[in-house]
Every structure is written in structure tokens, then in C-alpha cells.
Symmetry: C2
Subunit: 345 residues, 2 copies
């Protein structure tokens, strides 16, 4: 499961080094219609796929397999996935299953992709209306994390990724957590500084995944903020007014920090610090107390929950997580009230 | 990669024990139209697929995924593949990729399936005209080996499987090899005796695979007999007169035993013992010296060969194998001549 993690702002040099380690007969790039444009010189073998989660389908992966066959890809070839989570998920699945596994490298081009989809070995496609229904646990041999693609990302996308960075700090290190809360989204990206933050964040995920690659237990730590966050995301989606994933996660992190305080005495100071950061940067919260019943219902059906109970990962303190914590509807209701107070909505 | 190997002639009791170990919400059986009939009571959840290698396709696996979704299969479900290599290959791939991996059990119903496809973790489907082009290395959690399905197998199928049993003995144990050469196909199957032979044979494969699950090196030992055997099989197929896989392997084993004698001083006594057994049981050899050029050309393009050289696994003695051995066209020509002498054709 060990993935080689490379942090650099010279992506092509890193790929050159991977190719130089040698033995590959062909290097094939997989990119979407947007990320293909990031390549100044078109590579000899490039498979371009349509962008967007709605194209993360069996049809697209079939086209990728066809192209790989046409190009003469073998088990001695190298695949490079250049894109956001959609490209690394689908490209990783295509590579992992072609001839039972071709080596692949992920080059995430979004902040969310860098700290979430690109590391950890989850690959897959949507199927039958369900997200990531078909897939494999298959690690990229190397993941090249770079901030050089982020200058042109829309701000909601940057903030979306940053929420996962916050989550990783909450799972691991209070100094890092406090440092992140000083982040100012209004100034241009400081690439060296952000790359250091990513180095910390990606390593947290990698360490947890290395101890539980197939999500049997400890990996559930990474669900912090997501039981509640997914409910926000799903309800907004159902109503035809989707919210960015990371915003839902940010609200989920605050709500689950409150739940952590209720159940595990997580310090209220840190709840407030987090709450104010989220208020200042992820304010557009579109729910009221009239939505609580719908949200609770969604949480009960979350894949982490069983038998109608609501299950989440909670914290006794920053860095001290506890998986498989059950909470009551009353707990969640109280936490949602406090979230709305903190956000001032 | 560890697979739990169960040898029994009470298959339903073994499955009952696996289910009793517990935690599974649903048990789903995958069978083909023939092997589904082996179930005296139809199980609650049964997915029936068409039989034959020509149906080992993306279309069939898509139908299986659809059915699994409809039945409510989750990561806590259990899949049981009941059939020959086509069912265990395709059903294994479907299970390994559904929700990134559902536990599955293989119950091979053919001798060839029992000693070949069902163990070792190779799953997959044919794609774009190529065999096993899409797939995954994904071990069954349990493999239930039983001889109770073999009484009704056509004799060429029994012999086909037996050639792989011979191969495993040649890779591991001279006593077992000599014991197998006493086998008489004209008497009814002695189930207890055959189950013991399978116990030995399957364990040989499992041990080799455990040391090299993803076929990086040592697993190539299992290709003994197959560089030459595949050439026989492919040429017969091309001419529209296919031969059973195991017959091609049996002729391949003899040819590669001769090559082993030429290159590694494999004892000529054992070449002769093997040759006479193959003459007595796998005689219908459809090639002459006019076919040598075609056969050599196919061997040069075997996936084990590189740069036009012919590569195979050879033996210095029974149980003492050497992978990645290159042989010349002259060596192969001499070996084919001796094969034809031994077969008396």
C-alpha cells in the first residue's frame, strides 16, 4: 500500500525521475478536457476524457480501456492521471484493472484532489446512480503534490479543499490546526507555505490509510465531519441547490466538534476557534431548524451508520480521535443549534 | 493474499460454516446456467449468467453488478461463485470491484477450475478480443475444493484438469509425480483418493502464489509447460480445430521436460515416464513437422517472451524449477521431434 509521496512545484521533473527509474515501455497520460490543456507539449500518448462527476461512468472507463489497448499498454507501462478527483478516481480504476494492474501516478490539479482523492488508494466510478459503486482499493505508486495548478482555481474550490486540510490537522496536530486557522483566503497563494501545509496534511491521510488500507476500522477516522457533512451535501443536492463538498465538510466539522464536546469533553475553546473560522470563510449556510428532520434522516442512512443509529468519528481533543461513536437525535439537534449560533445565521 | 483452502465432499456444510462465522447480511450465489442446476434448493439470492468463455465479457459483469445492486449487496455481504473458471474469474472480478470489494468464496465445479482458476487470486474478463484483459488480483477468502461435481464431467475435461495437477507435482514433489503417473482414467473416480491429490496440488499453487501474488517473478513457475502449450492451443484455435487446454499443456509439459533435459540436465528417465503417460492418455496430437515454424512464431510472441526470444520455466529436476530460461529455435525443434517420437505420431 505504500505510496511514494512527492511534494514539488516542478511536476515535469518529478515525472522525469519516475520515468528514469525505468523499465516502462510506454507512458500514457489520462486527463480531462480542461486538465489536458495544462500540458504545454502534448505527450505522445494522451487519453482525454470528458470532465465532471457525471462522466465518471463505466462508459468512460470502457473508452479508456479501449484506448489503452489501441496504444499497446502492457503491465510494463506507466499511467499518469492529471486532474481532480474525477480523473484520479477513474484513471486509477482503469489502470488498476487493465491487464490486472498497470502502475499509475496521480498528479492532482485541485486542492481537494491533492488532500483527498489522489492519496489513499480508493479508485472507482459511479454506477447505477450510486457514487463510487464500482471500484478497487489500488494505490498509485507515486502521488505528485504540487500547488502550481491552484492559482487559477475558483475560490470555492480552494476553500473546499482547505476544509479537508483542516480535518487532517484536527485528526493529528493542534499546532497545525491553530496555524491553519490563521489562513487568509484574500491574499494570493504563497506556494512554498501552502506546499508545506499539504505535506503535513497528505502525510496524515497516508499514515492512517497505511494502517487500514481497506477501510476495516481506523480509516474511519477520515470520516470526521462527514456524517453530518454528507447530510448537508445530500439535502442541498436533493433540493437542486448543491453546495461545494468542502463547505458541507466545514459545517460538518463544526457540528461534530460540538458533538465531541458533548460526548467526549472536546475543549469548547477549540470549538469556538473552529466555529469562527468557518463563520468567516464558509458562511453561506442554507439550512434552518425546519431542515433538522430531513438532515437527521439522511444521517441515519449514512453508510457509516447501522440499524438507524447515527455513527460518527469524534474527538476527545485535537489529535485524539474515536471512531464508531453513536449520537442521539437530541445530541445532533443541540449541535446544529450551536452551529447556527456560531455561524450567526 | 492468504486464501482459506477447504477440501471436502460436503460443500453445503462448508458454506454453512463460513456463513456461521457471521456478519454477512446477504449471501449471493453466482452460477452459470449449468452449474445453477447443481443447487438442489434454489438459494434466495442467485445470479445466473450464460456459460462459456465467449460470455466472460463486460456485458455479463455489468449485469451481475446490476443484480447485486438490486439485491442490496453491501460490503458486509458474501458472494459464492459456483462454477468452472469462467464463473470464478468473472464472479470474482464482479465481487472484487463491487463497492470496492465484497468477500467471495470460490466453489470450483471442474477439475481444471479447482487446480487452476479458483485459487491464486486472478480474476477478470475478456475485453477487446483479448483474454483476461480487464481484471484484478483479488483472492477469494475461501476456496472449497470438492470432487463431488466431477463424476459427470466429460473425460477430456477431467484429463484437461489432470494435466495441471501433473504440472504442480512436477514443480514440487517426485513421489507425487510418480504416484500421479499410475492414474487410470478408465476406472470410476475414487473421491477420497482424488481429493488427496487435489489437496497436494492446490497447496503447491497456493504456496507459490503466496510468495508472489502479483506475478512479479516466482509465480512464473506456474507457466511450466505453458510457453509451448499455449502455442499448441493457439495454433489449433486459429485453424478452427481447438484442442482442450489441458491436452495442450500435457504436450507442452513433455516438450519443456525435453528442453529441461537439454538445458538443465533434467533426468531423461523422468522425460520418458512423463512422455509415455501423455502418449497413453493425451494422444490425439494434431501437428506435424510442417507446423514447427508457426509454433515457433507463436512462442516468440508469448507474453512471457521478450525481444523475440523464447522464454519458459524449466526444471533441473522434479521440484527444482528455474524461471526465465531462454531457449533457441533449434532447441525447440529438437524437443518437438522427441515429443512426436514419444507420442508415437
Amino acid at each position: 500500500m505504500a505510496q511514494n509521496l512527492i511534494f514539488t512545484n516542478d511536476v515535469m521533473a518529478a515525472i522525469g525521475q519516475i520515468e528514469a527509474r525505468g523499465g516502462h515501455n510506454i507512458t500514457v497520460w489520462i486527463a480531462d478536457v480542461n486538465t489536458a490543456r495544462l500540458l504545454s507539449t502534448p505527450p505522445r500518448h494522451l487519453i482525454t476524457i470528458p470532465d465532471g462527476d457525471e462522466n465518471k461512468t463505466l462508459e468512460t472507463v470502457t473508452r479508456v480501456w479501449d484506448e489503452m489497448e489501441r496504444m499497446g499498454v502492457t503491465r510494463h507501462s506507466l499511467v499518469i492521471n492529471l486532474g481532480g478527483g474525477m480523473v484520479t478516481d477513474l484513471g486509477g480504476f482503469a489502470a488498476a484493472t487493465f491487464k490486472r494492474g498497470v502502475r499509475f501516478v496521480n498528479v492532482p490539479t485541485t486542492l481537494l484532489g491533492a488532500v483527498d482523492a489522489a492519496v489513499g488508494g480508493k479508485t472507482g466510478i459511479n454506477f447505477g446512480g450510486l457514487k463510487n459503486e464500482i471500484g478497487a482499493f489500488a494505490p498509485a505508486s507515486d502521488v505528485i503534490t504540487s500547488t502550481c495548478f491552484f492559482d487559477t482555481l475558483p475560490m470555492p474550490e480552494v476553500k473546499s479543499g482547505f476544509a479537508e486540510v483542516l480535518k487532517h490537522a484536527m485528526l493529528s496536530d493542534r499546532n497545525e490546526f491553530l496555524h491553519l486557522l490563521d489562513h487568509d483566503f484574500t491574499v494570493p497563494i504563497d506556494h512554498d507555505e501552502l506546499l508545506e501545509r499539504l505535506r503535513h496534511s497528505v502525510q496524515v491521510k497516508e499514515d492512517i490509510v497505511a494502517r487500514d488500507p481497506n477501510e476495516q476500522g481506523e480509516r474511519k477516522a477520515l470520516n470526521l465531519g462527514h456524517t453530518v457533512g454528507h447530510a448537508f451535501e445530500s439535502l442541498a443536492m436533493k433540493r437542486g441547490k448543491p453546495v461545494p463538498h468542502g463547505y458541507a465538510v466545514a459545517w460538518g466539522l463544526v457540528t461534530e466538534a460540538v458533538l465531541s464536546h458533548i460526548k467526549l469533553k472536546f475543549p469548547s475553546d477549540d470549538v469556538h476557534r473552529l466555529g469562527y473560522f468557518v463563520r468567516d470563510n464558509y458562511r453561506d449556510f442554507p439550512f434552518t431548524c425546519d431542515d433538522y428532520d430531513d438532515l437527521l434522516e439522511l444521517m441515519r442512512h449514512d453508510k457509516k451508520s447501522r440499524d438507524g443509529e447515527i455513527t460518527c468519528t469524534l474527538l476527545a481533543a485535537i489529535g485524539d480521535y474515536r471512531i464508531d461513536q453513536t449520537v442521539t437525535a437530541d445530541d445532533v439537534t443541540a449541535a446544529l443549534d450551536i452551529l447556527r449560533d456560531l455561524l450567526g445565521v
